[in-house]
Structures are given as structure tokens and as C-alpha cells.
């Protein structure tokens, strides 16, 4: 009864995460490969993601109302509700990136995109890993993801500093610079949210709150 | 000492006293009968007809007579009694008929047995023209036994859990199917108990068969239901009051009593064994 429904719910969340992952990838590849069609795809996906977010939330509520789940079942449903929110936020950030990327395609910025590319790659990896960790309830992997957040943070700082030093001598490019920065900032935010996903997986698997790279409280 | 303990001890011992008194009566009763009648018992006694004014020979005809009267009267009373009980418990309509039946049963249960005898004489012997015969006697005794059987059957049917009836009806059975397939089979052991009690009563009654079936002496064994017949209880009475050779006949009377007791106990034992076997298969 409940078990089957939880399996279906988990599957739903994974599908949502794949949609969001595609949004992030498309938003960046559209910029990198100068493909405006990819950016338009992000807009389409956003509608799907929003609809699915509501479905997942209603399913979670119904399961709690009808089944009074306890222990791990309860943790799973509550965390899926949180992760649902997180994924929707990631989707919004990916959409913001797509809009910035569209601007940049029309007003290119003369700076190398290499750092941004690395950042994108690393962020998408973090998201993929956090989803895999969720599927298999891999606590070790989850904790690892939280540690990798630093890499993305550093790249974000680097890009910011570079933009600041480069943009001052060439004012007309300031808007493009802002958009570049926006993309970078959003990617950093996405990476951060990916670590939240990982923390939630630890709670599901072990009932321990793992935040800011350490165990806060032992609920056992 | 504790006042309550004393009261309890006194109570228990009074009960023991009464049980002892009752047991003494029973034991004395059996002893007297068996002591005075035991020496007359022999194979000849049981299988032969009486000879020479009942001073010699046996009481075989009386045994046969009592046996048939008992079997036929129960055979008549049992189905009628059970059907009446089914009517009272399951159908119970119309209400006026139910009231009449109940009044009838309660009244019949209290009627003195000699009046049954007169009733049997008037109705079966004279009105139906069955004459003094096993048939008249069996019918009379049957009417006597009915109240007991009806009451026992009614109680037996009421004891069957309502669940069974509900379950049967819910599966689409009619009331009749429910009674035949579920209720009666379940009530059977307790119905048999009522029957056992009736057997004892019927075998030993003298007054109802006085004018309807019994005769003091007949040479031949009964060949049909319309023959008159010798019976054990009447034989005892006759020997004790009208016999001409008291010295030899009194022991024979006691011997007859022993046989009558034995017969009743035997038939009851058979019925008990049957009931035991049914209960064993039941397991609930």
C-alpha cells in the first residue's frame, strides 16, 4: 500500500530533477554553443517543472493525510516536499540564466567563458551526484558533495573579481558584465541548493541532521 | 475466629450433608430394588413368557411391549415436537397462534398422567377406534412426552448462535434451508438430551397405558400395532395388587422393576453415546 506509493513518489521527484538538470544544461549550452533554440527550450521546461511541483506537493500531502506515516516513511515524504521546493528554485535560477544568456548572445561579452564553463560543469555534476545519492540513499556521497561546494564558491569569486577589474576600463560592456555575473551567481546558488539536497538525503537515510558540513543533532 | 470463615464452613458442610442424604436415598433405592428382585433375574426370566399364573417363566412379552411403546411414542413425539419448536422460534406468526400453542404446552406439562390415560381411552381407543393397542398407547404416551421435547428443542434452537442464522441468510439461503442445514444440525445434541429425558419418563408411565395399551396377560407376542400388549410397569402393578400367588409373584415384581430400570438406563446410554459422538465431531 504505502510502500508502492512511496516508490512512485520517489520516481516522480527523480523525473523532476532530470527536468531541472536539463534546464540548467540547456541554459548554459545555449550560451556556449550560441544556440538560441536551447534557451527557448528552457522556457518550455519551466512550465513542466512548475506543474510537476504542484503535483508532487499534493501527492505528499495526500500521503500524510491518508497513511499517517512514521519513521523513515515520514522523513522521506517530508524531505521530498523540501527537495521539491529546492528543485523548483533551481529551475527558476536556470530560467534566469537562460534570460541572461539570451542577452549575452545579442550583446556578446569579450571575456573567456572558460571559468563559467568549469563552474557550470561542476554545478551540474553536484546536482547529478546529489540525485544519485538520493536514489541510493548514499550517505557518504552526500557528505562528499557538501565538501565540494568550495570549488564552485571559489570560481564564483574569481569570475566576480575578473569582471570587476575588466569592466571598469570599458563601461559600455557593463550590462553584459552584469549578466555574466548573474549567471555565475546563479550557478553558485544552484550548487548551494544541491548541497541542501544532499543534506536532506542524509536525514532520510539516517535521521541525522547534517548541515554546514557537520552533524547538528542526533535525533536517535 | 473469622466470622465469615465460620459461615462459609457451615454452608459448605450443609451442602455436603444434603448431597449425602440424596446419595443415601439413591443408594438405598437401588439397593432395595436390586436386593429384592435380583435373584429372580435369569436368562429364562428375560426371554420367556410367563407360565402358571405368572409364578414361573419370564417377562419377555412385557419387555417387548415396553420397548415398542417407548420407541413408537418417541417416534411420534420427536418430529412433532421439533417442528413445533421450529415454529415457535423461527416463524412465530401469527401471534395469537403462538400464544395458544404456548398455553397448551404449559398446561399439558402439568396434567396428571391418569388423565392422559382417560384422554387416550376416549380419543384413540374409542373415537379413532384403535382399540386397546400399542398404537393407542404410543399416541397417548407421545402426547405426554411432547411438552418436554418441545421445551428442550426450543432451548436447543435458541442456544444456536444468531451468527450462524445471519451468515446463512446473508448467503442467500431461505429460512427453511437455514433451519435444515445449519440450525437443526447444530441444535441436535441438545434436542437429544430432551429426548433422553423423555425416554425415561415414557417407559415407566403406568397410568396413561392402563386403559389404552396394557393387558395383564396375553399369550402371544404383539404382531402389529393394533395388538394389546404387556408392559413392564403395569406388570409390576398387577403382580403386586392382583396377583394370586403373592410369595412367588412379589419377587418377580421386583425383578421386573430391575429389568425396567435396566432397559431405561440402556436406551438412555445409547442416546448419550450418540450425542457424545455428535458433540465430538463438532469441536466448538
Amino acid at each position: 500500500m504505502l510502500k508502492d506509493k512511496l516508490v512512485a513518489l520517489k520516481k516522480s521527484l527523480i523525473e523532476q530533477s532530470l527536468l531541472v538538470q536539463k534546464m540548467i544544461e540547456s541554459s548554459f549550452l545555449g550560451l556556449f554553443q550560441k544556440e538560441i533554440k536551447l534557451l527557448e527550450k528552457v522556457l518550455e521546461l519551466e512550465l513542466l517543472v512548475n506543474q510537476k511541483e504542484i503535483e508532487i506537493e499534493m501527492d505528499c500531502t495526500a500521503l500524510i493525510a491518508c497513511f499517517h506515516p512514521e519513521a523513515k516513511d515520514l522523513r522521506l515524504i517530508l524531505m521530498i516536499m523540501k527537495m521539491n521546493l529546492i528543485l523548483e528554485k533551481m529551475g527558476n535560477l536556470a530560467l534566469s540564466n537562460a534570460k541572461s544568456a539570451r542577452f549575452l548572445l545579442q550583446h556578446p561579452y569579450n571575456s573567456s567563458l572558460i571559468d563559467l564553463a568549469s563552474m557550470a560543469k561542476e554545478t551540474i555534476n553536484m546536482l547529478k551526484n546529489s540525485i544519485n545519492a538520493f536514489i541510493t540513499e548514499d550517505v557518504m556521497l552526500s557528505k562528499q558533495i557538501c565538501k565540494n561546494d568550495d570549488v564552485v564558491d571559489r570560481l564564483n569569486s574569481k569570475i566576480f573579481k575578473k569582471l570587476v577589474t575588466e569592466v571598469i576600463p570599458t563601461p559600455p560592456t557593463i550590462e553584459s558584465a552584469f549578466h555574466m555575473n548573474n549567471i555565475s551567481k546563479n550557478l553558485e546558488r544552484i550548487a548551494d541548493l544541491a548541497t541542501n539536497l544532499a543534506e536532506d538525503t542524509v536525514f532520510i537515510a539516517q535521521g541525522q541532521i547534517f548541515k554546514h558540513n557537520s552533524l547538528i543533532k542526533d535525533l536517535a | 475466629m473469622n466470622y465469615r470463615k465460620i459461615k462459609a464452613a457451615v454452608g459448605v458442610n450443609i451442602l455436603r450433608l444434603f448431597i449425602a442424604i440424596t446419595s443415601i436415598f439413591l443408594v438405598t433405592f437401588l439397593y432395595v430394588i436390586f436386593a429384592k428382585g435380583g435373584k429372580v433375574i435369569s436368562w429364562e426370566f428375560l426371554t420367556q413368557s410367563p407360565r402358571r399364573f405368572m409364578t414361573e417363566g419370564g417377562i419377555y412379552p412385557a419387555i417387548v411391549g415396553t420397548f415398542w411403546l417407548t420407541v413408537l411414542s418417541i417416534g411420534f413425539a420427536l418430529p412433532l415436537g421439533v417442528l413445533t419448536a421450529i415454529f415457535l422460534t423461527s416463524y412465530a406468526k401469527p401471534a395469537w397462534l403462538v400464544r395458544i400453542v404456548r398455553v397448551a404446552i404449559n398446561t399439558l406439562a402439568g396434567v396428571p398422567s391418569i388423565i392422559y390415560g382417560l384422554f387416550g381411552l376416549t380419543v384413540f381407543v374409542q373415537l379413532f377406534k384403535f382399540d386397546v393397542s400399542i398404537l393407542s398407547g404410543a399416541l397417548t404416551l407421545g402426547v405426554l412426552a411432547m411438552p418436554v421435547i418441545i421445551n428442550a428443542s426450543e432451548e436447543a434452537i435458541k442456544t444456536v448462535p444468531k451468527d450462524f442464522r445471519e451468515a446463512s441468510l446473508a448467503l442467500g439461503a431461505t429460512e427453511r434451508q437455514t433451519i435444515l442445514r445449519v440450525i437443526l444440525p447444530t441444535a441436535l445434541p441438545n434436542i437429544l438430551t430432551g429426548t433422553i429425558i423423555s425416554i425415561g419418563r415414557v417407559a415407566g408411565e403406568t397410568a396413561p397405558i392402563l386403559f389404552t395399551a396394557a393387558t395383564f396377560y396375553t399369550r402371544l407376542l404383539p404382531t402389529s400395532a393394533l395388538d394389546e400388549v404387556m408392559v413392564l410397569p403395569y406388570h409390576i402393578y398387577a403382580l403386586m395388587t392382583e396377583g394370586s400367588h403373592a410369595a412367588k409373584q412379589v419377587p418377580i415384581a421386583y425383578g421386573t422393576a430391575v429389568v425396567l430400570l435396566g432397559l431405561v438406563l440402556f436406551v438412555s446410554a445409547v442416546a448419550i453415546v450418540i450425542r457424545y459422538n455428535i458433540r465430538k465431531k463438532r469441536k466448538w
Binding site: - | D163, A167, L169, A170, G172, R181, R282, K283
Partner: protein, 252 residues
């Protein structure tokens, strides 16, 4: 979701003597779904259940107005053959009540009373016991007394017995309240499996049970049908304040 309701009540009212027990009840029972009747003690849910197979007829001084439709037929029409209605509507009671007969004879009872041939009976008995998840446990002792089974097994036997008649709908009157938790869980899962074969209407005083197994729920209070709807919607956002109060345990 397209649902068909071929079993419904229409303005159903019932009195036990002067006591107005069911008031203008209109309820759809959807095909091949589990519908639960919930409500506090004395609200009339068992009485309503028993209207579907006319078992209330057994209680004296019962008066009924309104209709109960069973696939195009109003079963309260005069001249209705009640025994044939009861063959199409199976019932399982609160306390398991197998007959004092063998396991086989219990399941075959409904078939025997209709004079079904022996060869068919064997097959139907096996199928019914399999449907009730009891076959493996009893296949080697079909002729032993039904009372040699445990409480949970006896209840499954009663379910098999009802299934043997191939009914349109099975009525369950608090079927697990006399059972231990494991047997209860087994019967709940059995209901979920059975609903593909037969419509199920279940009375339960256990709200969580209704949440676990039912597709639709009807909440009754003081003889009225207060609310009816999809279980997950009703349990999340009840429309009536009384339903809300009952579900949150304010009374019951």
C-alpha cells in the same frame, strides 16, 4: 477519472420503530473501488450497509422508504426475490462466523443451497480460497472443522465463502475489529487485491484504515450522509466542519 456507480441509494430513509436512523441518504458506490463508511458510533453506518442486502428486514419494526439500486433494479421493490439479492451481495461480519462444518462445506454453502453441480463446486471452492489468500494454508485440510483455524484465517474463510457466490459487491462490517494487528494488515491488503474483482463497501470505525485502503469515503453523522468524496481529497481538505472535526479526532 471516469467512474461508474451502478450501486446507489436514492432518498433512503429508515426507522427502527420511532427512531429515525437513516435520513435521506444518497450514496454512490463506484464499481471495482473500495468505498469506506466512517462516522462515530451510532451514526447509522452499519445500518446503511445492511440495507444493501436487505438484512435489516430481519429486525422487527423496521420501516424503509426510498430506493436502493443494484444494477438497474431497486431491491426494495415489492416482489423482489430477497434470497437472489443476497446471492449477488456478499457480506462479511465483524466477528468471524464460519458454520460448524468443514472448511470445504463452509465455502461451498452458498453453492449447495442453489443446487450447483458437484464438479463445479470443487473448482469454485478452490478459486474462492485462492482469492481469499487462504488456499495454501488449508489445501491439505479442507475437510477439517472451520474452527481449527485462527481468527484471521476464519475471517478470510468468511470472505472466501462470500466470494464463492460471485457477487457484484461485498459488504464488510468492521471486518478487522476483532482481529490482531497482523491479521488486520493481511485483510487490508486482501481488500486492495480484491477490488479488481469485486466492488467493496466497508464500514470501519478506524479512520486510518479508511485512509489506507479506500478510494472513496462517506462520512456519516446522526443518520445523515454529511460528506462523500475521494478519500485523499476528503482527508486533506474536508468540505464540512463536522467531517473536519471527526477526522481530527475531536469526537468519535
Amino acid at each position: 477519472m471516469v467512474n461508474n456507480a451502478h450501486i446507489t441509494t436514492e432518498d433512503l430513509n429508515l426507522w427502527f420503530g420511532d427512531n429515525h436512523v437513516l435520513k435521506d441518504v444518497n450514496i454512490p458506490v463506484y464499481d471495482k473501488k473500495v468505498t469506506a463508511l466512517i462516522g462515530p458510533s451510532g451514526c447509522g453506518k452499519s445500518t446503511l450497509l445492511r440495507c444493501f442486502n436487505r438484512m435489516n428486514d430481519l429486525i422487527p419494526e423496521t420501516k424503509i422508504t426510498g430506493k436502493v439500486h443494484l444494477y438497474n433494479k431497486n431491491i426494495y421493490e415489492s416482489k423482489t426475490d430477497v434470497t437472489s439479492v443476497r446471492t449477488k451481495v456478499g457480506m462479511v461480519f465483524q466477528k468471524p462466523n464460519p458454520f460448524p462444518k468443514s472448511i470445504f462445506k463452509n465455502v461451498a454453502y452458498g453453492l449447495n443451497i442453489r443446487g450447483i453441480s458437484k464438479s463445479k463446486i470443487n473448482k469454485i471452492v478452490e478459486k474462492s480460497l485462492k482469492d481469499a489468500w487462504l488456499w495454501d494454508e488449508v489445501k491439505d485440510r479442507l475437510h477439517e472443522s472451520a474452527f481449527s483455524l485462527s481468527g484471521g484465517q476464519q475471517q478470510r474463510l468468511c470472505i472466501a465463502r462470500a466470494m464463492a457466490n460471485d457477487p457484484e459487491i461485498i459488504l464488510l462490517d468492521e471486518p478487522t475489529s476483532a482481529l490482531d494487528p497482523q491479521s488486520t494488515a493481511k485483510i487490508e491488503e486482501l481488500c486492495l487485491a480484491l477490488k479488481d474483482k469485486v466492488t467493496i463497501l466497508i464500514v470501519t470505525h478506524n479512520i486510518a484504515q479508511a485512509g489506507r485502503i479506500s478510494d472513496f469515503t462517506a462520512f456519516m453523522y446522526l443518520g445523515e450522509m454529511v460528506e462523500f468524496g475521494e478519500t485523499k481529497k476528503m482527508f486533506t481538505v474536508p468540505k464540512d466542519k463536522r467531517t473536519e472535526a471527526y477526522l481530527s479526532g475531536v469526537f468519535g
